[in-house]
Each structure stands twice: as C-alpha cells, then as structure tokens.
Amino acid sequence: MEVVGPDPPCQRCQALKKDVEKAAAKLKDSGFNIEITKLNMVSKEVIGKYGILVSPALVVNGVVKSMGRLPSADEIKRIIEKA
C-alpha cells in the first residue's frame, strides 16, 4: 500500500504513515503481508497514475481508498482487511 503526500512530507502525511504502520504491524499476526511506501504527490507520474490532488491519500493494491483525510487506525485496519 502507498501513502501519498508532498515531499517533504506534511505533518498530516507523517501522521497517516505512522497510523498505517501501526495498523500493518497489528495485522501482520493475522497473516497480512503489507509493504508500505511513501509516494511524492508533487510528481507527474504519481498524479498521472492516481489523480490524487488532496493530501494525504491512501492507496491499497493500486486503488485510492482515501484522500484529504486522516482515517483512524481502526478505519485503516478495516480498509486493509477489505482490500
């Protein structure tokens, strides 16, 4: 999954990445194999691929699941489980 935001990362993008890491660590025990990458939204490739204009955004398996908001750790867990 990818956390998308500007570089250098804004405060909210850092917070999202931390929450995603926490959720991923919790889900690791249930057998989920999660790789987290931070993408720079101010790049033509990322915008072209995902069309994300409002940061921070969360992409799971190539699908944009949330943008412009900070989902709670609980919500992130559900997003991952459903993907």
């Binding site: 935001g5 500007p6 804004c10 405060q11 909210r12 939204m41 101010v42 790049s43 033509k44 915008i47 072209g48 691929k49 995902y50 069309g51 994300i52 204009l53 409002v54 940061s55 992409v59 190539g62 699908v63 944009v64 699941k65 949330s66 943008m67 412009g68 908001r69 900070l70 989902p71 709670s72 609980d74 919500e75 559900r78 997003i79 459903k82």
Partner: protein
C-alpha cells in the same frame, strides 16, 4: 457494549459539541456583542508596555473566542465532508469545468497557502491547464471559509462579501490571461494530458459518521495549531500599532488613491497565510485607513514570497511574476472602485 452502540454514543457526543458551538455563535449574534477587539487607541494611554498586548488579548478573547472556535470547527467540517474525489473526476475535463471547479471548490478545500502548492502542482500535472491551476492557487487562500468568517466577524460582512467577489474575479482573470501568454502556453504544453489518463481506480471508503465528525474536529485542531500562534503574534503586533501609531499618519497615508497603492504594496509582504492580515487590517482600519485601502490590503496574498518561491519551482518565474502583477493590479483597481462606491476612499 457492542460496537454499534459505542459508535452511536460517540456520534451523539460529537454532534452535541458541534451544535453547542453553533448555538453559542447564534446566541452571540442574538445578543449582538462584538466578536472583534473593542479597544480603541485611546484605551491604551497610560498602560505600561507589557500590559498593552495583555489588555488587548484579554479584550479580544473575552468575547471573540466563540468566533474563532466556530470558524475552526466549520472549516474542519467543510474540509472533511466536501467530496474531494469530485476534483479528481472532473478536473481533467474541459477548460470551463476546470475553472468552475477551481472557483467552486478552492474555498472549501484549504485554508492556508502552504497546502495550496501541492494542489496547484496536482491540478497542473493532471492536465487541467495552467489557467485553472492559477485560479485555484489565487482563489483558495483569499476566499476560504476561515478567512471569510474572520473577515466578516472582525471587520464587516460587507467587506467579506466584496473580498469573495473580487478574489473570484481576480483569480479568474489571472488564470485566463496567463493561459494566453506565450510562457503560460509553453508550461501548458509541457503538462498536456497524457493519452492514457488516470490509471488507478478510486474507491473511496465511506467512514462512519462518528469517524468523520471526529476527523473534522481533529482537522480543526490541526488548523488551529498551525494558525493560532501567528494569529496571536499578529494580535500582539496590532496592540502596539494601536497604542503607538499616531492616527493622523494612518489617516494621511492610508486614504485616497495613494492610500490604496500603499496598502496594496505593504499588505503583500506583511501577508502570512495565517489570518494575520485580517487582524492587522482591522487595527489599521480602526486608526483611520479607508475601506478601499483595506480591501487592497487584504488582497496581498498573491505576493506571499514563500508561496511564490515554491510555485516558481513548478512553473518558473515568468508565470509567477505575471500572476503577481495581475493580482496587484486587481487589488489596486478594486480597492479604488470599492473605496469610491462605498464612499470611503
């Protein structure tokens, strides 16, 4: 207790808080007390230096806190609930949709120009064109929920309305003019729509109401952490300006056409995208600045240097200088026009 009940309780508590904030603001309007600082320059006479900002801050916060709380809560709610995927969906459509979205969505999306730069790049890279991107960039910081609420409550609702209309016209004009210049066209060509379009799909997860409400309040908290320190410093600065700036200087230099010109020039460098321009503008207005000059003063956003530097890395200086010039001309023209129409030039 099962999860559903817990969520319902959380929703009720959060809604209660939000309605309480709305109720308090309505109550303040019914009682019709001022939500702006009420101290006049004469009130500062005889106060020791350290007491000047203390007295001013106490005066402001004793009745203005509800306005600030309301503004931040509303900004948080709007930001959370505005459907952001709409921009992705329609932004790379035709030019008219691009401009429409920029004007319609920008005020709801952001509250300070620091978050505008990535958005500006995003609009440009998505192939929407340089015009809508510039319109987005100029519209959002000048006429967003937070600045309009604060301008309305601290200065006047008439000026807040004029500020929205004028920002809209200037942002649109700057977008259209730049998209017609050779250097604007060159940038646009560089970032033409890719034929493949957006490859990823967007399936936004719908969070529950309690999560969204909590998200709004958290965003309101984040905004206030970003903005309030500067806002407070601005208030301290205003208290000294009010205490020591002779009224005849403001009356002499910040009125008439020269006043509009001076205000449009000093409003710019003073501008920090943190509502300080509103507090300072209010202070100068109390000291005798004309309404025309005040409007020009409040429209200083486009020459925010930090913002311009970041934007210049994406579209080069020629474009930045062009939009600065257009925005400056707009602030002068509309400052003078508004001053004449309102009888306060």
């Amino acid at each position: 207790m099962d999860e559903g009940t817990l969520r319902r309780i959380r929703t009720i508590i959060l809604l209660f808080f939000i309605f309480a904030v709305f109720g308090l603001l309505i109550d303040s309007r019914i009682k019709a007390y001022s939500l702006a600082p009420t101290m006049k320059p004469a009130d500062f006479h005889g106060l020791p230096i350290w007491e000047i900002p203390v007295a001013y801050l106490l005066d402001y916060f004793s009745h203005g806190w509800i306005c600030l709380l309301f503004a931040f809560v509303v900004a948080g709610l709007v930001y959370e609930f505005v459907p952001k995927e709409v921009i992705t969906k329609y932004m790379s459509g035709n030019k008219v949709t691009g401009y429409g979205l920029a004007l319609g969505m920008a005020p709801f999306l952001t509250v300070c120009s620091c978050t505008m730069v990535p958005l500006f790049a995003g609009v440009l890279y998505s192939g929407a064109g340089i015009g809508p991107a510039i319109t987005f960039l100029l519209m959002a910081p000048a006429a967003n929920i937070l600045t309009i609420l604060l301008t309305g409550e601290m200065i006047s609702w008439e000026l807040a309305g004029v500020r929205i209309v004028v920002s809209l016209i200037v942002a649109l004009a700057a977008g259209i003019i730049i998209s017609e210049t050779p250097w604007g066209k060159a940038i646009e060509k560089e970032h033409q729509k890719t034929s493949s379009g957006i490859q990823a799909s967007v399936e936004m997860v719908k969070p529950s109401l309690d999560e969204r409400l909590w998200g709004s309040l958290k965003f309101a908290g984040y905004l206030s952490k970003q903005i309030l320190p500067f806002f407070l410093l601005g208030l301290v600065a205003v208290s000294y300006v009010m205490a020591y700036m002779p009224e005849d200087i403001v009356g002499a230099y910040l009125t008439g056409i020269p006043g509009v010109l001076i205000a449009s020039v000093i409003g710019g460098p003073l501008y920090t995208p943190t509502l300080v321009e509103i507090v300072l503008g209010k202070g100068m207005w109390d000291l005798g600045m004309s309404k025309g000059a005040l409007l020009a003063w409040l429209m200083g956003q486009p020459y925010d240097i930090a913002n311009a530097l970041a934007v210049s890395r994406i579209v080069r200086w020629k474009v930045v200088l062009t939009y600065m010039l257009i925005a400056w001309a707009g602030s002068v023209i509309f400052g003078i026009t508004y001053g004449m129409l309102s009888g306060s030039l």
